[in-house]
């Protein structure tokens, strides 16, 4: 939920207009909006490279993982899932909130991957690799803005 929706909901509960402080907070959210979209677009533009590098690093560290057994379906699924998490992160950046990640990427993740017989520990390591290669290609400031979303995913897998 963005700060806009959150503020409107709380004002609505009290049947009032948004107050000065809330509007100021929203305004700074609007102002940083274009910059957040720019950051998200960097991820979109470099998606293939990030996923490629991330996968290589992951398979080096965890050679005995289902996606590294030579099964092309497992391999493709692993890379597809990495793209998906990257996409969820771009959503979260635009929204400045982890809700899209939680809803589409964390809820039920344990049950799903366990039923697919993929250890969550491996998945978490995979995300750590994805984070590392992403952070390496960004400026310090952009990296600092993005890293918490990767950490959120990694923590979500550990739960």
């Amino acid at each position: 939920m963005s700060i806009i929706t959150r503020s409107i909901k709380s004002a609505d509960r009290q049947a009032r207009y948004l107050n000065h402080g809330e509007l100021q907070a929203i305004e700074s959210f609007y102002k940083s909006g274009e910059d957040r979209l720019r950051l998200a677009q960097i991820l979109v533009a470099n998606e293939a490279e990030i996923v490629n590098k991330g996968s290589q690093r992951f398979w080096q560290r965890y050679p005995n993982t289902p996606s590294n057994t030579g099964n092309p379906t497992f391999r493709a699924s692993c890379m597809r899932d990495q793209s998906w998490y990257l996409r969820l992160i771009t959503y979260a950046i635009a929204l400045e909130d982890t809700e899209p990640i939680d809803r589409s990427g964390i809820k039920g993740v344990k049950e799903m991957y366990e039923s697919l017989e993929i250890p969550l520990k491996n998945l978490a390591e995979c995300m750590r690799c994805l984070k590392e290669v992403t952070v390496e290609m960004l400026s310090l400031e952009d990296a600092a803005a993005i890293a918490p979303y990767f950490d959120h995913i990694i923590q979500g897998f550990g739960r």
Binding site: M1, I8, Y17, H20, Y30, G33, E34, Q41, L88, L95
Partner: protein, 161 residues
């Protein structure tokens, strides 16, 4: 409720896609217009009472609706009408800030026409009042913000008719 960002994300997440350039342009435009939206919201909240007063004077006052036998006759009904207009204005302002009309459906429009019909509230008069509110608000906040508010006033009207 949704805002423009959430509704964009929801649309593209179910397709597992990134927002297309059209959607991105809309988002950028939305963020750029943030200052305008916040200022308009502030101006409207400071002048809500007078917007309603002026809109009623423009659209309903001294018509059949306020005369004996009309639906705003007696102060109890008059007050109910004003209260509803206040709701419309406040929720239109929320929707303008969010850049998305979903809150109007959720909080105002679902079942409103049926309620009004069963209470005998004239839809035509209500729409006239909302349109008058649109004009008065545009005078107050200026053409650009007025146009944006107009989108949501019109949304209310089309939801009623």
């Amino acid at each position: 409720m949704q805002d423009l960002i959430t509704s964009t994300i929801n649309t593209f997440d179910v397709r597992a896609q990134y927002p297309d350039s059209d959607a991105m342009n809309k988002l950028e435009e939305y963020f750029r217009s943030g200052d305008l939206r916040a200022k308009a919201s502030l101006a409207i909240s400071a002048n809500a009472k007078s917007i309603i007063t002026k809109a009623v004077a423009k659209s309903l006052m001294y018509t059949d609706i306020t005369a004996p036998g009309g639906n705003m006759y007696t102060c109890r009904r008059y007050a109910a009408c004003i209260r509803d207009l206040e709701y419309f204005l406040r929720y239109a302002t929320y929707a303008m800030l969010a850049g998305d009309p979903s809150i109007l459906d959720e909080r105002i429009l679902n079942g409103l026409r049926e309620t009004y019909n069963s209470l005998g509230v004239p839809i035509g008069g209500t729409i006239r009042a909302v349109q008058a509110m649109k004009d008065v608000t545009a005078d107050l906040v200026g053409a650009d913000a007025g146009k944006e508010m107009g989108v949501y006033f019109d949304y209310i009207c089309s939801g009623l008719s």
